[in-house]
């Protein structure tokens, strides 16, 4: 109240200096709301640690900048045997760690072996299918137990990055210069990186544990170069400002959100009920509640994923059709149901909207809010509430990383199911198994499109939305977009500063 009468200038405080070619130098500063859990690639499995671990450890294969296509990184080339069991990779010439030591083929075998030896590493499932790793000279051969066309993506996961015993030298574009746990980490450019000439930043500074609203204040004051996933009021404000709009970057990443309907429980054992709920939910309203930083879903595969059938449209908001289907299933008067969500402001907002939409078709929803750890346990349990908010973030940009864990019958387990709907369909299982073995990309995509149709019709989830990653950058941050897999990848980013390395005022 005291300050509302003194309006302040809230557009960008700096502008791009206007260099025509990328300028070397400078420190890019950003902050995260959480903290680094570990810098050990054999353990790292959370978003925030990944920002650093990915920047510090490079892998045999990587993603093209801003895309999901695999390209050779530490490998120069790769090929797969006709039976799909042996992947052979030749190492790139002259690759070295940040301390100058050469990267050897055996270092990759060592990294895989480390994951196997850590009893509580979550990365175990990814190495389970690797029968052996043979390192000979500059060549590596991975032999699988059974064919898996998505295996190359595993070779782009950071735990496969080369490592040596008792060394934390970096194989990636940056190396850790200093980490004050819980406070900040400073990364310095790795001069020995194979693509170092294209890396322009001198350093990256990431501050930990800065609440989102404070991040935005810091960003506005010019203390941060990038701010991400803003609190909704800040997001709505900034996207409404013409001066900021060119610097708002939104990108679909590898996630899907909706509600699981446990098909083993009444009334969700009836497909018509599940379809009815899909018709009853107004997805456009969901998108509004998310500030527009999302796209409506027709299934679990997000836009851009090979195998996604872009011709399928999300279930339309059709109250009459929903009522008709409910009546046909014997629920003309609707039913009462508990809906479980994690304790979270956004989940609350969306659940309220779902509750109103379903009330329109006679389904009376009672919302139960649980702390995340309790929610996660109940979601994975066959005895948890049959109707619950569900989401999935894939490990790599391949349909197999979405469909197999979420809808394959082998992912069902009574108290640890990643198949949250407990959906078992032999036809879908056969399709997924076939697709996993299929080496031909086009044929594989066609198989997944058929799987998409089955899931669309069977509707084990109430399909809702794919959330976008939204970042705003200062005007002088160039060649940067959020990455669909890594979310934040500043490898080729540069700062458009003046000749003295200073930021330029508008």
């Amino acid at each position: 109240m005291l300050f509302s009468c003194s309006p302040v200038e809230r557009g960008p405080s700096y502008r791009a200096a206007g260099n025509a070619t990328p300028r070397d130098g400078g420190t890019l500063r950003f902050a995260t709301y959480g903290q680094i859990v570990t810098l050990d690639p054999a353990r790292e499995y959370d978003e925030i640690s990944a920002y650093v671990v990915h920047a510090v450890h490079d892998t045999l294969l990587g993603y093209e900048p801003n895309g999901t296509r695999l390209v050779p990184h530490l490998a120069a080339s790769w090929q797969v045997s006709p039976d799909g069991l042996v992947y052979t990779l030749a190492l790139r010439d002259g690759i070295a760690y940040s301390d100058g030591a050469p990267i050897a083929a055996a270092d990759f075998a060592y990294a895989i072996d480390r994951v196997r030896r850590i009893p509580d590493s979550q990365l175990q499932p990814f190495v389970a299918n690797i029968a052996s790793v043979a390192a000979t000279g500059r060549e590596l051969a991975f032999t699988l137990r059974e064919p898996d066309a998505s295996f190359p993506y595993v070779l782009a996961m950071t735990f496969t990055a080369p490592q040596r015993a008792n060394s934390d030298a970096s194989s990636g574009p940056f190396a850790v210069e200093r980490w004050d746990s819980g406070v900040r980490v400073v990364l310095r450019k790795n001069q020995h990186y194979w693509d170092a000439p294209h890396v322009h930043l001198d350093a990256i500074e990431m501050r930990e544990n800065v609440p989102r609203d404070v991040q935005f204040l810091m960003f506005e004051r010019g203390e941060l170069d990038v701010a991400e996933r803003l609190a909704l009021p800040d997001y709505l404000w900034v996207t409404a400002q013409p001066a900021w709009q060119p610097f708002v970057h939104a990108r679909a990443t590898m996630n899907a959100y909706g509600s699981r309907m446990n098909v083993r429980h009444k009334p969700f054992d009836d497909r018509r009920v599940r379809q009815a709920l899909n018709y009853a939910l107004d997805k456009q309203h969901t998108l509004k509640l998310l500030g527009g930083a999302a796209v409506a879903a027709h299934g679990i595969l997000p836009p851009g994923m090979a195998g996604r059938d872009d011709e399928l449209a999300p279930y339309p908001h059709d109250v009459a059709r929903a009522r008709q289907l409910l009546a046909a299933a014997g629920y003309a008067d609707g039913f009462d149901v508990e809906y479980m969500i994690p304790s979270d402001e956004e989940a609350e907002r969306l659940a309220g909207s779902l509750q109103r939409d379903l009330a329109d078709v006679g389904v009376r929803v009672r919302i139960t809010e649980l702390a995340f750890a309790s929610y996660a346990a109940a979601l994975a349990s066959a005895n948890g509430p049959a109707f619950a908010k569900a989401g999935w973030i894939a490990d790599f940009p391949d349909a197999a990383s979405f469909l197999d864990p979420s809808f394959g019958s082998r992912a069902i387990s009574d108290d640890g199911s990643t198949n949250y709907a407990f959906y078992a369909n032999p036809e879908l299982d056969a399709l997924l198994d076939h697709a996993r073995r299929e080496q031909d990309e086009a044929k594989r995509a066609a198989l997944y499109r058929r799987a998409e149709h089955i899931l669309y019709d069977d509707a084990p989830w109430l399909w809702d939305y794919h959330q976008e990653m939204v970042e705003i950058t200062q005007p002088y941050v160039r060649d940067y977009e959020p990455h669909p897999v890594w979310l934040r990848d500043y490898t080729y980013t540069w700062l458009d500063l003046d000749a003295n390395g200073e930021r330029v005022a508008p």
């Binding site: 005291l2 300050f3 959480g34 903290q35 859990v37 570990t38 353990r43 499995y45 850590i118 009893p119 509580d120 590493s121 979550q122 175990q124 499932p125 004050d180 746990s181 819980g182 406070v183 900040r184 501050r207 930990e208 544990n209 800065v210 609440p211 404070v214 204040l217 810091m218 004051r221 203390e223 649980l370 702390a371 995340f372 750890a373 309790s374 996660a376 346990a377 109940a378 979601l379 994975a380 490990d395 864990p405 992912a411 387990s413 640890g416 199911s417 990643t418």
Partner: protein, 309 residues
């Protein structure tokens, strides 16, 4: 004297053990699964292996047995989330929290004592009323509100302080310390000012003060030299009690100001249901509060000879 210290130390350990056990039981009673929360993609086999590793596959007695076995070896188990010893986590986070606690106590005394003295000396006049307003605010406004206000007004609008962070180097650290310490100290300032005011007012009515007045001592010497000295005992016990308040304030202040201490670590651990970390921090905090109170008691023994009997 030594017997007293030993006895009180024994009590401190007992209190800490009780707090840790109660927390342990509360966590075990909640139907939640840290493995699922931390590893939502884990296959059943991996989840089972993780649970076995963290003793989570056993009943309450089994889990508590694991905890005691760790404790006997001087360990507190491993963080489920980070996969590293809880003792390391605590060692890393304890110093920032201690700095914050000490700064808050210093601030609490540096602001609370003068406020209390002024209010008592100028009773029912404007300094007293102004102090009452400040203390009511400090006591009734929750720390998250005070912290957010400090951050927004003093750091963001006026730019006098940084928008959170830990700082590096002595002066930079101090500068970063002011707002979180003020947030933690706010309830304590109010508490000590009000208590000191009423104790001082009582003292100012005592016979020895009348004698001092009769001798013709100045009001300043009466208040500071005679009455204040007698009101210090209760102030010391208030300060001891406020260590308990501080722990709660630190959780909030550390979160708002990105201060890398135990409080924020505790908050993160609660969100993840990371049991070993929660129990470890509760144990250490309880021990710290008990020891701080012991220290306060020793100070009181010094201040008031009557207690020594």
């Amino acid at each position: 004297m030594i017997a007293l210290v030993v006895r009180r130390l024994g009590w401190a350990i007992l209190v800490a053990w009780f707090a840790a056990t109660a927390t342990f039981a509360a966590i075990a009673a909640i139907p939640s699964d840290p493995v699922r929360a931390i590893a939502p993609h884990a296959t059943p086999e991996v989840a089972e292996r993780m649970r076995a590793y963290y003793c989570l596959d056993r009943g309450f007695a089994g889990q508590y047995g694991c905890f005691l076995a760790h404790l006997a070896r001087g360990e507190l188990g491993e963080s489920v989330r980070a996969g590293r010893p809880v003792t390391h986590v605590i060692a890393e986070r304890a110093w920032p929290s201690l700095q914050l606690a000490l700064a808050a106590i210093v601030l609490q005394l540096a602001v609370g004592v003068p406020l209390g003295v002024v209010a008592a000396a100028r009773r029912r006049r404007w300094p007293d009323r102004a102090t009452a307003a400040v203390t009511v605010l400090g006591q009734s406004a929750p720390p998250f509100l005070i912290g957010t206000l400090f951050l927004y007004v003093l750091a963001y609008r006026f730019g006098w302080f940084p928008l959170g962070g830990y700082g590096s180097g002595f002066f930079d650290r101090l500068w970063h310390l002011v707002l979180p310490a003020a947030t933690c100290a706010a309830p304590g300032v109010a508490y000590s000012a009000r208590t000191l005011r009423s104790d001082l007012i009582d003292a100012l009515h005592a016979d020895y003060v009348r004698t001092a007045r009769a001798k013709g001592l100045s009001e300043r010497r009466i208040v500071i030299g005679h009455a204040l000295r007698n009101a210090l005992g209760p102030l010391a016990s208030i300060t001891g009690l406020s260590f308990g308040l501080l722990v709660g304030g630190e959780v909030i202040a550390e979160y708002i100001f990105a201060w890398p201490g135990l409080g924020r670590e505790l908050l993160l651990a609660v969100l993840d249901q990371d049991g070993p970390v929660i129990v470890g921090i509760v144990l250490v905090s309880a021990l710290a509060i008990a020891l701080a109170n012991l220290a306060v008691d020793l100070v009181q023994l010094r201040l008031d000879p009557r207690l020594r009997e």
